[in-house]
Structure formats: C-alpha cells, structure tokens
C-alpha cells in the first residue's frame, strides 16, 4: 500500500519535473533576440562561423529536438555554458549551491524550534503570554524578508556590530556566524505563519472530544498532551511547516542578494538581469526539482502521520 503510494507519487514527481523542464526550456526559446548574437556577444562574424555555431548548439534543429538535446545533456549534468562567465553552468551551480542549502537549512531550524515552539506555548497558555505571541506573530507575518534583512543589517551589523554585513564566510563556525542574520531574515515571516498554525492546531486538538475521553480516563496531563494533543496537532503543523520551508528555497534569493552571500539566489537574479539564459535555465531546473522533492517529502510525512489519509491526496 505504502510502496504503491510512493511509486505513484514518484511518477507524478517525474511528470511534474518533465513538464517544468519543458516550460523552462520553452520560455527561453521564446526569448526575443537571436541566440547567436548572445553567443557572440553581438560581434559580427562570418556566415560560416554562424553556421558552425548553429550546428554546434543544434540551433538549426526543430524545437523539440533542441529540447531533447538540452534535456539529455542536463541529465548528464551538462547544463551548458554561461555566456557572461564563460564557464560550465553545472560547475557554477555546484560552487554556490551549498550556501543556499545551508541558509535554508539554518532558517528551517529556526522555524522548527521557534515557530513551532512558540505556537505550542501560545496554544496551551491563555492570558498575556498567548496574547503577546499572537500580536507579535501577526505583525511579523507581514514583514517581507528584504525589509527584515535591512532592519537586521542596520541594528546588528551597523549599530551593534555583532554580525558581518556581507558574504558567507568560510569554515563551519564562521559560516554559521555569517549566515545568522540572513537566516533570521529569511525565517521571520515563515516563523510567524508556522506559529499561528501551530497555535490554532494545538487549540483545536486540545478542545477535541477525544482529549476529554483521555482526561476522563485519568491519563496524566503530560501524556494526554504528548500522545493526543501534540500527536494529532503534528499533522497540520508538519504539513504547513514543510511547505513553508520548501517555499524558502526561492525566497532565499532575496536575503542572498541583501547580504551578498553569493548563493544560487543571487546568481539567479544576476543572470536574469544579464539574460544569461543557460544559467537561469540551470538554476530554475535545480530549484524546481528541489522544491518538488521537498513537497513530496511533506506528502509522505503527512501520509505516515495520518492513517486516515487515502494514500494519494493531500487534504488541504
């Protein structure tokens, strides 16, 4: 049952990635302007050289054939060459990917610890603790990551000088130090969303009748909390947290740029501005795959946590 579910989701995942890759390639194909001009940097060259370039990059072939070449090359790890940097795109992505993933992982950790933690506290308490968490999270949910980034920059880098304002650093401790402000900036609004969902879920489960049943049977409060309230609230919490963390992959380009970290996000933005299409295609493909895989993982965790789920759909 579970393996069949996994198999079906795997096929859906591949279909989604295939269609996404088609869309990514198709979008680039539609780009106004001759790819030859992009390749030569606008310099005029002989017709023979143009023909040679066309043959080399399969530009004389129909669209679907070009897509096929691109896709099979991508599967072999060849994403083409950056026209601005004159380097292998796969290589360029590999050099920068760790920064993005470290940043997202750091932010994810903050979201799980503080977002869920504060949500549970607010869900179980009433009075000022709950009220202040609710008010702060409502405000924080409206703070865009780039504004969080500049506020953190101003306060903790410029005024207090506790954290660096630029770059990703090198070596574990140094990277951690460099990535702290970016990770907080990236996590702030997501944390607020997770806190609110967690609070609502804990409240809802706490009021559920099956919790009353457990209390009426004299199950100690602590066990009622872990076995029933938190166990059941974990279902919506993990789903929302997982999807939220997956969405950070794309949003990381903002803090990446604000703090000049040099990760995939900043590279994507720069390449989009300079119309370095091979790079935009490559990064888009990588990010879409990671995003889709993370969503699949969320679905699998969801199915594992909730026995009621008909293995195959996510009840939203």
């Amino acid at each position: 049952m579970f393996w069949r579910f996994l198999g079906r989701r795997g096929v859906m995942l591949l279909a989604a990635i295939l269609i996404a890759s088609f869309a990514i390639f198709g979008a680039m194909y539609l780009t106004p302007g001759s790819p030859i001009a992009a390749l030569t940097g606008g310099k005029s060259i002989s017709p023979e050289a143009v023909a040679a370039l066309k043959a080399r990059y399969h530009l004389d072939q129909p669209f679907l054939v070009q897509y096929w070449y691109w896709l099979t090359n991508a599967l072999h790890g060849d994403l083409g060459t950056s026209i601005t940097l004159r380097q292998d795109v796969s290589q360029l992505i590999a050099e920068r990917a760790w920064i993005t993933f470290a940043l997202v992982a750091y932010a994810a950790l903050l979201i799980v610890i503080f977002g869920i933690g504060l949500g549970i506290v607010a869900g179980l308490r009433t009075g000022w603790v709950d009220t202040s968490i609710v008010v702060i999270s409502a405000a924080a949910a409206g703070i865009p990551s780039f504004i969080a980034a500049i506020v953190l920059l101003l306060v903790f880098s410029v005024l207090l000088g506790w954290f660096p304002a630029f770059g990703a650093g090198s070596g574990f401790g140094d990277v951690l130090w460099h990535l702290t402000l970016p990770a907080i900036a990236l996590a702030v609004s997501a944390m607020a969303i997770v806190t609110r969902i967690t609070r609502a879920s804990v409240r809802q489960e706490n009021a559920a009748e099956h919790v009353q049943t457990a209390i009426s049977r004299g199950i100690p409060r602590r066990l009622v909390l872990t076995r029933h309230v938190l166990r059941n609230a974990a279902i919506p919490i993990t789903t929302v947290t997982g999807i939220t963390i997956a969405s950070l992959i794309a949003i990381s380009s903002v803090v990446d740029t604000a703090f000049g970290l040099g990760g995939l996000g900043q590279f994507l933005v720069r390449s989009a501005q300079s119309k370095d299409l091979a790079v935009v295609q490559g990064i888009s493909l990588v990010l879409v795959i990671v995003f889709v895989v993370m969503n699949l993982i969320v679905d699998i965790i969801y199915a594992a946590l909730d026995p009621r789920v008909k293995l195959g759909t996510r009840a939203s």
């Binding site: 009748e209 099956h210 009353q212 457990a214 009426s216 049977r217 199950i219 166990r231 026995p307």
Partner: protein, 298 residues
Amino acid sequence: MINAADTAAPLLEVNRLTVDIDVDGEIRHILNGVSFTLKAGEALGLVGESGSGKSMTVKAIDRLLPRGARQGGSIRFRGRDIATFKGSEARRYCSEVAMVFQDPRVAINPVRKIGDFMTEAIVTNGGVSRREANRRAVDMLARLRIPDGARRLEQYPHELSGGLLQRVMIASTLLTEPKLLLADEPTTALDVSTQAEIMLILNDLRRDLGLAVIFITHDLELAGAICDGLAVMYAGEIVEQGPHVYEAPRHPYTVELMAARPDIERRVKRLPVLTYNLERHRALTAGVPAAAGEEQRR
C-alpha cells in the same frame, strides 16, 4: 480500603449540585441544585430537553467540567467528596467511573490504533503489561460479540463502523472494571438498528457486572424500559424523579413530556407542542420545594 461503612453508603450521592459558567463576562446558571442518589447496580435515566443540564450533570460527576466553570454543592462517591480526590485516589476514581460518549467518531483519537485506545488506561494507570492488556482487550471485545478482536486492535477508528466503534468504546471503559457507567446519549450518533443493539448490550452488561448506570437519553420509552428510575430535568433542575415517573408522572412538565411522545398505536394529526415554559416553571417553583424534593436556591 472498602469498609463496611463504605458499602452501606449509596454508591453516588449528588447533593444540591450547581454549576455556573462564565460566558463572555455573563454568568450562566447551568445547574440549579441537582440532587439524587444512586445505589450500586442501579440504573437511572436522565431525561429532558436539550440544554436542560443532563450532560453537565454527568460531566460534573466525571470531573470534566469546562475550564472556568464553578461548581457548588457536593458529589459523593462511596460517601466521600470527589473534589477531595488527588493523585492515585483520583486515578482510581477515574477507573471506577467510566464515561461512554455520544459519538465514538470524535470521542476516540482518530490517529491511534483501536488497541492503543482500549488499553491506554490500564497500561498507563493500572500497571498492566501491554501484552496482558491486549489479551484482556480481545476478551472484552469477544464479550461484546466482536469475534476477531486481535485484528481489530490493529485497525484505526475510521476503518470501523459507528456501531462497532461504540462497542469498542464500551469495551474499553469496562477494562478498568468500573462501578459506575455514565452513558451520554450513547446511541444518538448511530443508526436505528444499531441503537437497539447497543442498548441491549449495555443492559446485559449492567445485569452481569452489577454496574450502576446513568443513561442520558431523549428516548423516554427506552429509559422507561431499562432504568430503575427516571429523573426529569428542566432548566438545570430535576423537576421529578423516582421509579413512578414513567408510569405515573405527577409534575406538569413531565406529564406534558410523556403526552408528547409519538405512539404507534394511536394516530394523531399532529404531535402536541409543549406549553410548559420558563415562566410557568418559575411561577411553579417559586418558594415551593420541587416535586423531587430539592430546595430551591435563592
């Protein structure tokens, strides 16, 4: 611990029980002095309209009052005030007084297995090993005419029908060997044929195990048929109680309630509408001890 004095006392004495709840700053009187006693093995039917305080009464007995509710009066179990129970005594009380909830679909945690649900109390509080608890659970299911108990324990609530689930609920309450069963409309959420089956099971168990039972129900026929006595509630009070109520009601409200039952023998164009209302109730009870003998709270 059980001495002669304990067994001589009634199993349950509810004495002038009041419950007030604060709803957005407004105090609502949910129960206004409810009194009754229940001997071991006795069955009491608690009847009345929705909102008359039936559920709140059993919730108070089960110590499940909502947060912010204020309780007055006393509830004594074997002669001792249940409000004084702490720690192990409280846990023992929980195992001796069990509640069968109205809708098993929501009263059983949907994401845990039937086995976990059934054995949770005896494993956690009774110190029974999981293996032994499972064996007992299977036995108890068999007693409730559920043959393949071992398989059921591995299933999840959504895989069982409502009637089956309610039998699981009843079986699970019996595992702690209770002396008093509180059944809050145990069949309302089920279809009609299953309702009868569940009531039959509960009635048999009551006889076999010598359980005292408080039934909350809207079904007067059913309550009259299986209970030793009825208590009729209105506006947070018991207006009339005793073994006579079903056959020979005296209080005007009970008389009307009995007359309003549909009868298959007798065809009527339209069921009678109750004329008894709060004003009549207030006028009737002002200064006068109610038929059941409670003192009015003033």
